[in-house]
């Protein structure tokens, strides 16, 4: 069971959220090449490790969250708004540690 710390609602069970896929994929500019658009639609880094992903808090604030989660331990180390990025400018949220 994932426990996702929503910045607006607090920590909630995964059943309140809908997964919406890889958040590291970004849409190319309109004049992008077909290869860039193919990569945007179909390419996935799919790492065994830290993964940036979208979760929609349908059972709560209905906001879209950007979450950095480990794909093996399921540990969540950063949660932010869609325009934020896990970096120095947006320091990690204080996320309680959980056992894998």
């Amino acid at each position: 069971m994932l426990r996702i710390p929503c910045p607006w609602c607090g920590t909630r069970d995964e059943v309140e959220f809908h997964y919406r896929g890889d958040a590291s994929v970004s849409r190319p500019a309109a004049e992008g090449t077909p290869e860039e658009f193919t990569r945007y639609v179909y390419g996935r880094e799919n790492p065994l490790g830290w993964h940036l992903e979208w979760w929609l808090h349908v059972g709560g604030c209905r906001r879209l969250l950007k979450v950095e989660r480990h794909t093996l331990s399921h540990e969540i180390r950063w949660v932010g708004a869609p325009d934020q990025h896990p970096s120095a400018e947006s320091p990690p949220q204080p996320v309680p540690q959980r056992a894998p």
Partner: protein
């Protein structure tokens, strides 16, 4: 692979023990002589420095590929590398169902090819895989669903595949446990493929391993691949836990980990890794003699020959390499089980497990060359890899041996995504969490 020269002659083959032919006569003889005449079914080989073909992954597809390379195409200079012991990945984690009741004609043809190979598999391998064609029954609960299943059955029959529509009464007779008059999801009827069924999954890995080993393939366990070497756009071999192994062709058959292995070669695949859970109950007397799938939820169930009810549902729905699964899906599967078969409420679940799988962007597998010459990919099996093992191995071996795809699997090429020829059985689009 006609254009690839062999750069070095293979070293002398290692000592290879033969397990002999299995038969009723042999069983009787061994029974009377203290079972002392059996020998291991396959030889645990040490890797040589170079092979013509290296297959990464000692699961169903990897072993089947090696088996068909050796027996159909005469290419025996082959190694199968497995990171742990043989056949403990997805080939041992699925719910053992075989069927060819697909919707898209390309898929019907491919999976029917596989089902035909299943039908002759035990004779071919001289190994008891317990292929049991008990039938797969899909229930429908709405009129729209009935129309869709009827269309699917008609499409299958046009391809010469067996499919039958069952009335509510016929469903009742076949599976008396089903709650036909469920207040919310009453059963309107069923769609039966009589030739579908189950197979003992471990025996598939063992049978192919035995056949491949006897045909001259090296099966190397505890040999994790840590790198893929290439030069000038062509693969030259693999770095492993047991040293570098040179190869003209490297075939990845590591569904679940395809992205991680392809990354070693600098490739990004249209795949996400998700976990699918499965469950088995305590052993019961025979109560269910078909493979049953629920139409109002994602749930499928069959009874193993040992008596346990084996069942599963949908993927957990987010990227994970954790082979365990989480509780919300357990609850969802249990709810579907009890809604369809109320008697199951009193049955104890003995074990639950998860397998990680390649969810491709259209829900269909990838059997293809890659941009790196000599690197072949067998992956993207989503949650349907087990039933496809014979055809997946056969067509991958064909691709390696001839350099051109086998006709029944040509549409599973990697280029289909860029070209817009996706094989999307459910019409969902590139969102694995919805597949």
């Amino acid at each position: 692979m006609p254009s690839t020269p062999r750069s070095s002659a293979p070293a002398s083959p290692p000592e290879r023990t033969s397990s002999g032919r299995y038969s009723l006569w042999r069983l009787l003889r061994e029974g009377l002589t203290g079972q002392r005449g059996w020998s291991p079914a396959w030889t645990k080989a040490a890797p040589r420095a170079r092979y013509r073909v290296v297959v990464v992954g000692g699961g169903g597809h990897g072993l089947a590929t090696a088996y068909y390379l050796a027996t159909v195409h005469g290419i025996t200079d082959v190694a199968v590398l497995e990171r742990g012991p043989l056949g403990l990945g997805n080939v041992a984690r699925n719910t053992t169902i075989i069927r060819s009741n697909y919707f898209l004609p390309d898929n019907v043809r491919f999976y029917e090819f596989s089902l035909k190979l299943w039908e002759g598999l035990e004779r071919t391998l001289n190994f008891n895989a317990m292929v049991s064609q008990r039938g797969t029954l899909n229930l429908f609960h709405t009129e729209a669903q009935r129309d869709l299943f009827t269309r699917r059955a008609n499409l299958m029959r046009l391809e010469g595949v067996d499919a039958e529509a069952l009335s509510c009464e016929a469903v009742k007779e076949l599976v008396p446990l089903v709650d036909l008059d469920n207040g919310r999801y009453p059963v309107l009827g069923g769609f039966l493929q009589p030739r579908g069924g189950t197979v003992r999954h471990d025996a598939v890995a063992w049978g192919y391993a035995r056949g491949a080993s006897e045909a001259g393939v090296d099966i190397v366990e505890h040999c994790a691949v840590t790198g893929i070497r290439h030069a000038g756009g062509r693969v030259t071999g693999v770095e492993t836990a047991r040293g570098f192994i040179g190869a003209d062709v490297v075939c990845l058959a590591v569904a679940g980990y395809s992205s991680e292995l392809a990354r070693l070669a600098g490739l990004e695949l249209p795949i996400e890794t998700h976990v699918l859970q499965a469950f088995v109950t305590e052993g019961l007397k025979p109560v269910l003699d078909v493979v049953l799938t629920y139409g109002a939820g994602h749930f499928y169930i069959s009874q193993s020959d040992k008596g346990g009810l084996v069942f599963g549902g949908a993927i957990d729905g987010y990227n994970t390499y954790g082979q365990r699964g989480t509780l919300p899906m357990v609850e969802e599967v249990a709810a579907a089980a009890v809604t369809l078969l109320p008697a199951l409420a009193r049955v104890k679940v003995l074990r639950q497990w998860g397998g990680v799988m390649d969810m491709s962007m259209d829900g269909s597998p990838i059997i293809s060359k890659t941009p790196l010459e000599g690197l072949i990919l067998n992956g993207g099996w989503c949650y349907g890899g087990f039933k496809a093992i014979p055809a997946g191995g056969f067509t991958t071996a064909h691709l390696i041996a001839h350099g051109t795809p086998h006709p029944v699997a040509a549409h599973f090429d990697l280029g289909r995504f860029a070209a817009g020829r996706t094989v999307d059985e459910r019409g969902v689009g590139p969102y694995p969490y919805l597949h």
